[in-house]
């Protein structure tokens, strides 16, 4: 398991691994929004939590099809499936590797980019908390979508269509936590729901992803 994790991390940071892809996309979106909205810092700081969450979600989506597609192309997915590792373990490690290479950099970059959107000072902490809690769910749900579409040529569009509706609850509660945090309101309920969604997906979806992957490898 650890061998698979270290291999995936190593592949991600080497040439052609796509480590910076999501991060660069996130950066571009957040930098461009102020140009689109114009010089209204009051409006910007109001929409900042939503923009940051949406940017993180789309950046996450961008790198999903790489989770299994590359391993399927070069045959290592077949070999992994016949290896001693359980399929549930393989998909969990794949999701973890995706989060470490995509989700975690987004969480770390978000406060810096919050400055660009003039996010209120009290909102920074809650923005990081909401992203740190929510992005693992994005990776796990995305892994499920990638398992569903593995083996399809150019399945990226189908993958987005399948995954985006599943991302909606995470987006709603994640952005709500960040917004309430920025406005200094009580945020216990959305925070609990966000944490619940993440825990639920991490606990259940690997089994679904593994089952789907077994069917797709036939």
């Amino acid at each position: 398991m650890i061998a698979l994790l270290t291999r995936d991390m190593r592949l991600a940071v080497r040439a052609g691994g796509g480590f910076g892809l999501g991060l660069a996309f996130f950066l571009i979106v957040v930098v461009l929004v102020p140009f689109g909205v114009g010089p209204q810092s009051a409006l910007l700081s109001k929409i900042a939590p939503g923009i940051l969450w949406l940017g993180a979600l789309l950046a996450c989506l961008l790198s999903l099809d790489r989770i299994f597609a590359l391993d399927h192309e070069d045959g290592s997915l077949d070999l992994l499936a016949t290896s001693p590792l359980p399929m549930e373990g393989i998909v969990s490690v794949k999701a973890l590797a995706h989060w470490l290479t995509t989700g975690l950099p987004l969480v770390l970059a978000a406060p810096v980019l919050g400055v660009l959107l003039s996010l209120p000072v009290q909102g920074f902490g809650w923005l990081v908390v909401s992203l740190a809690l929510g992005t693992p769910a994005l990776s796990v749900i995305g892994t499920f979508g990638a398992a569903l579409t593995v083996g399809l040529k150019r399945g990226g569009l189908l993958l987005s269509l399948l995954v985006l509706p599943l991302y909606v609850p995470t987006l709603i509660f994640g952005a709500e936590v960040a917004r309430r945090g920025a406005e200094g309101m009580a945020l216990g309920t959305p925070l609990a729901l966000l944490a619940g969604i993440t825990c639920g997906t991490i606990a259940l979806l690997p089994f679904a992803s593994a089952a789907v992957l077994r069917v797709n490898l036939r």
Binding site: D74, P84, R218
Partner: protein, 205 residues
């Protein structure tokens, strides 16, 4: 008995291709599967490896004893030859890759990125993976594709060493490997009866 397949039927894309296949492998035995293209050699091997369910029949083997090598080698081009082998060794819970590197003469290439290898060298790396797994039964699908005669001899030597150590191998191939001791199983007699139009009414009855 390391592997016993009884009365196995497999389908590809919903169409039955082989039925009633039976074979057995004892330690030290190699069996070569032969048959024309499309007869179902790959499908049978994938069925035995557990990658796809059989229509009927069963393949029995000791748990954790099979290793499968298909058409694709599962090589990561961004990793070096040694890193590729080390990864598979760790997945299969072993540590020693030097024997595999020596058996397929990969020593001079060990630090080279696998993406820079030729097709034949990649194949040798893919086959070297079998040696680091430490599994007893090798299921090999066209292992000699893009190998030159020297590398085929290298491969035959590796199989022979594996058999001498009490392993077994099931090999689907078209060429002569020089493994004179291996038994040969022609799959042509096991071809599944096509679903003819005669059966068309029968489907609804």
């Amino acid at each position: 008995m390391l592997l016993r397949v009884t009365d196995m039927a497999v389908a590809r894309g919903g169409v039955p291709v082989l039925e009633g296949v039976g074979l057995a492998l004892a330690p030290g035995e190699a069996l070569i599967l032969r048959g024309p293209n499309g007869i179902g050699k790959t499908t049978l091997l994938r069925g035995i490896a557990g990658l796809q369910p059989a229509l009927s029949g069963r393949a029995e083997a000791a748990p954790e004893s099979l290793v499968y090598a298909g058409h694709a080698d599962g090589i990561k081009s961004a990793l070096s030859v040694a890193e590729n082998l080390e990864f598979w060794a760790r997945v299969f819970g072993t540590t020693d890759i030097s024997r595999a590197i020596a058996a397929f003469a990969l020593g001079p290439l060990a630090t080279r990125p696998a993406g820079a290898l030729s097709a034949g060298q990649k194949r040798r790396l893919g086959l070297a993976r079998l040696l680091v797994t430490g599994r007893a039964v090798w299921l090999l699908d066209e292992p000699t594709v893009s190998l030159d005669t020297e590398a085929v001899a290298m491969f035959a030597g590796a199989v022979r060493g594996h058999l001498a150590a009490g392993g077994a191998a099931l090999i689907a191939t078209h060429i002569e490997l020089g493994l004179t001791e291996a038994r040969i199983l022609d799959l042509a007699p096991y071809r599944a009866a096509p679903l003819g139009m005669d059966d068309f009414d029968g489907v609804f009855l």
